[in-house]
Symmetry: D2
Subunit: 357 residues, 4 copies
């Protein structure tokens, strides 16, 4: 089926291209009776806004969300919530140079092969701008999760090859890279400046943590909670890897060190990342994603035209040096959509408590 | 929705517990007119069989698959293909000791929280035995992919901390760890013996490669081909991480090194792992999974009873030292299910070629 | 998507052909902790058995259901429940005459056009035998509905043109046509004998009633509860029409007579058939289906061979004169599957009661 | 799952309330490369507009559709097509009288029971205004069907108890009731005037015909093409019955008269309504729906307040006397959505033609 829908219970469909009229999302399945204002959504959306740090572009978008349906007297009604974010700063003309060639690292070639046509204006649907609609939808999921005392946060644990060794959460809001390590943040700032001068770009690793989740969420077999999280996070354009708990590190441990012992007061470690056999254990859920470097760089690259003629490309427009930290809130958003869905799923199941009838 | 269905077009539902009567799969959506014998499926299933190497148990199961429907005169009819694999070696009694405690690293605790009841006989539905049904279903997908000249293979690139530096594919069938590095395979054999003596277990990393895929498969946004692959692979019990192409390594590269340049003869590198913006580029698809160490170990572990009393546990029954190499074919199986589904999806789309009508 | 799955929460996939090894169903999403025996399912299945009345064939099938998974110590575990019913009386050879022609009123021609291949043994997947698997699955749904005090029943309101004017429910089990009108049942018996002698067949109308449903079940817009019921009932092979409440009769009423007035003690009539704007009102749900005459008749019919040559056909094997009353339990079964699904859906929604937070 | 999505391949999600900011639809899965203008959609939408005949209200809405995404240089791109129709004539205040009582025949009571909250402004999401979004989405489906030479039309075969005995298609556009019988149309005009004076309302029966469909569309078992059509049509608010081909009349025929004989030149009759065993036969698809009388009438009705106090209600605002003929285009729209989906589904299946490989 077409890929623009996420979730089964808390179901989100997004639409819109980078340089079209707007991007948007429709949420079907949000429980009724929940207070919801545009400001609730806007707060999350503002965290994704460009132009906030040295690694981001200066695209001057306010990204103002409008609620078009599903609210009555300030409360959700259980009917679809339609959200739209007009594209105010669209300049499609500036992309005309790319209409006849394939940008390396972008979806230009694969989209053309899939659809036989592609909207080359800023990547069209393949643009990271599409994630604004996801974040808006997650603004609604966040309200639902808050009712259940579930919170999701994220921070940068590696950027441009510089590893954050500290986990000082007070630091995360104090530097433009959302890095919980003061010293590392300083080194990252230098790295960003170097890379910017070279016209190149960098990637990194983001860690996302969900707190307050009850044990028992998720499904067995194919739709394990970690499988859904992997699906959600790998569906973000720049993400090339996802790991849960000890992740790739677990491959190097023995069973006796990787297993989390259980005591009357709870689990004594969390190599599992809060998920056992695909179902939440009640511990924090911990996931990490590998973010590739931004493919649009001003360094000259070899490519071909749509007629397969060799050519070169240097992307000179506004582009971030790194998808971090703007991508961090997108990662949180996707986790929120997964958890809202899992929460409603579990309630559906819960109607028949054990009995011998 | 309940999690026992995979795929939309080539749709598989699996059922069965480790020590129940059987495990099985029903495939809805297999195209008609395709020759299919039980032997086609059995060949793949035999690769998953235990007792074939030093890292595996001696559970003496033949795992014989039966086709119960969907075939007429040796050809698929387009109707559901029901597959069943009887559980011949079920000894539920041997698990009775675990009925009142939670095994660390297993789903005992989380399943009980989700369902309020759990089948403790060998882990029930959470047992790796469940994957036999996935592999059987993939036996059907494999036939479909072969028609399109798509093949999927796998090999072990790390096990017990020992890294395979060579990629000599001729070696893969020559050692019991499916390792493409002769020297590494020897070291792994030693490591396995050591760990076995200690009553401990190990994990590793498996790489899966799909060849022959046309460009244009996959969906945009949420259901990117890599998102589906991550979903599929992370849904295997022991998997804690998934990466595509350069994966976590991409986080440390610059854009100028990570981008795959394009020449008239094709892409000049494959950091992308065959997927651009979620859609296949026609290059090989390359994925890697982190496999955690087997949680069942004979070394004594701390845990609690269902009444939250502290206790200890030593698992003495038959258990693999490592999920590798038995898990390798399960990884291939999941990739095959993803690709069969993507192939049918693309055909659905392809009915309206570009025109100006 | 392929059409062999029904429901989203209480999800059923069926498989099997008329003269294959077995027919079966897998239920994914049944709540855990529910007592379930094969006998619970068998009771419903026995009501569908042939050979019980003058209008039915003498196919001597016991139709014994086996539970293959999903039960532990007599209780459902929340994992898939796999049900199989072996085909004991399969005689595919007797259908060989039909392998080269298209039977009028059957799916022979349309299946061949769809799939390019068809299993001509008794209609294969298009046989009414397929409904045994639906009834078995409904045996599980029935247990779930009983917990919520919801019951579903049915009776014949017209057969062979003879209309039941009485609604004496005590009569339904007293005649072989499940007719609530003693006098009409007598006339139907005569009509059946006449038609049998002529080698012809008849149809009729079945009414299904669901009692005990709470108000508030169903979804708005596309998946209204009546839309789901229509989907469910029209998906039974012989059904050519579905109506709810006053149904086609409502088209002839004025608003002032069709509207059901509301009083403090409840609705004063039930033209709506228990559903308002697609959502249950708490009144009885009332649906009726038009059942076409059995297409297999011994009277000679004109048709063509697969090579488009004219030929004639006279079906001499065992065939019912009327799908009623065997189809009645299939209608009940489909309604039960719809209601089980709607019940779980509503619980998913219900987690966030109104608040001004 | 929430009920605001229709279709699997050609998937439509609608949103919006009667007196909110707008109603809209997002289409995910429309094939790329198809020319599409707002005018294409507008043409269909204009047929649904109120105020065009004596049986309709004078609500002065232009219902102008906007395409917000999914189009590039006048062609579909394969990405979601977002459509919005602003609500220009919303006067929520005029409904305040209904905020504290339940209107008979409306969803007020059932929505409140389901959601615990309801948008009483003109019925909110339960208003027939919601169907504008369906018709807009069908405007896109229509373009797809036209490429395959499939057309869908409808006409009124009964209204206010007056039956159309003629099928003179040239008449359909010549009278305000879309009736193919000149004499009947005259009688209907008189009936409408009488009913309007009484402050009452009427219903009727609409027949929908699809021409040009290839044989082989539809799915077996649960998702038969007629089951999907029943689902689609019964999901329209005012519809209380659906029949295919001979429909309820088939219940009174014998097999020898109801079966459609087959000759070398094709089927010799069409009691089946173009569908055999749930799959299209290549004949015209013929469906009929029973439309209930409009529940909003100025005749005084008994009901209760939300506090269960008896009260009376007389609806004096603008309301149609009959949902026909405005509902006719909605019926066509739903059939178009079903057929577009079935068409894409069949192409997905068709990739593996019969072979003995």
């Amino acid at each position: 089926m077409p890929g623009n829908v996420f979730g089964s219970f808390f179901r989100v469909m997004t639409w819109g291209e980078s340089h079209g009229k707007a991007v948007g999302a429709v949420i079907d399945g949000c429980p009724p009776g929940m207070a919801l204002l545009e400001a609730d959504i806007q707060a999350l959306l503002d965290r994704r806004r460009p132009g906030k740090g040295p690694a981001s572009t200066q695209r001057a978008e306010t990204d103002t969300v409008q609620i078009l349906s599903g609210i009555f007297e300030g409360l959700t009604t259980g009917t679809p919530i339609s959200l739209a974010i007009p594209n105010k700063d669209a300049k499609p003309g500036s992309y005309e140079a790319f209409s006849r060639l394939y940008r390396p690292g972008h979806g230009d070639y694969s989209y053309e092969k899939k659809y036989g046509i592609r909207d080359w204006r800023g990547g069209g649907r393949a643009s990271a701008r599409e994630t604004a609609a996801r974040v808006a939808a997650a603004g609604v999921a966040k309200k639902l999760l808050e009712r259940h005392n579930i919170s999701v946060s994220s921070y940068t644990v590696e950027m441009g090859g510089i590893v954050a060794n500290e986990r000082d959460m007070a630091q995360v809001d104090q530097n433009p890279f959302a890095c919980p390590d003061f010293a590392a943040a300083g080194q990252i700032a230098q790295r960003v400046e170097e890379v910017k001068k070279l016209g190149d770009s960098i990637g990194g690793i983001v860690e996302i943590v969900a707190k307050g989740l009850p044990a028992g969420l998720g499904e067995p077999v194919f739709d394990k909670l970690d499988a859904k999280i992997a699906h959600a996070l790998m569906g973000i354009g720049a993400v090339k890897g996802v790991e849960i708990g000890a992740g790739f590190g677990a491959a190097r441990l023995t069973g006796s060190t990787n297993n989390d012992p259980i005591a009357p007061e709870g689990f004594l470690s969390n190599h599992a990342g809060g998920i056992l056999a695909g179902i939440s254990s009640g511990q924090d859920i911990v996931a990490r994603v590998a973010v590739k470097p931004i493919p649009s760089i001003s360094i000259q690259q070899n490519t071909v035209t749509v007629d397969k003629e060799p050519t070169t490309l240097s992307v000179t427009g506004r582009h971030d040096v790194c998808a971090i930290p703007r991508i961090n809130v997108v990662c949180e958003a996707m986790i929120m959509l997964v958890l809202a869905d899992a929460l409603l799923a579990q309630h559906a199941l819960g109607i028949a408590p054990r009995s011998a009838k």
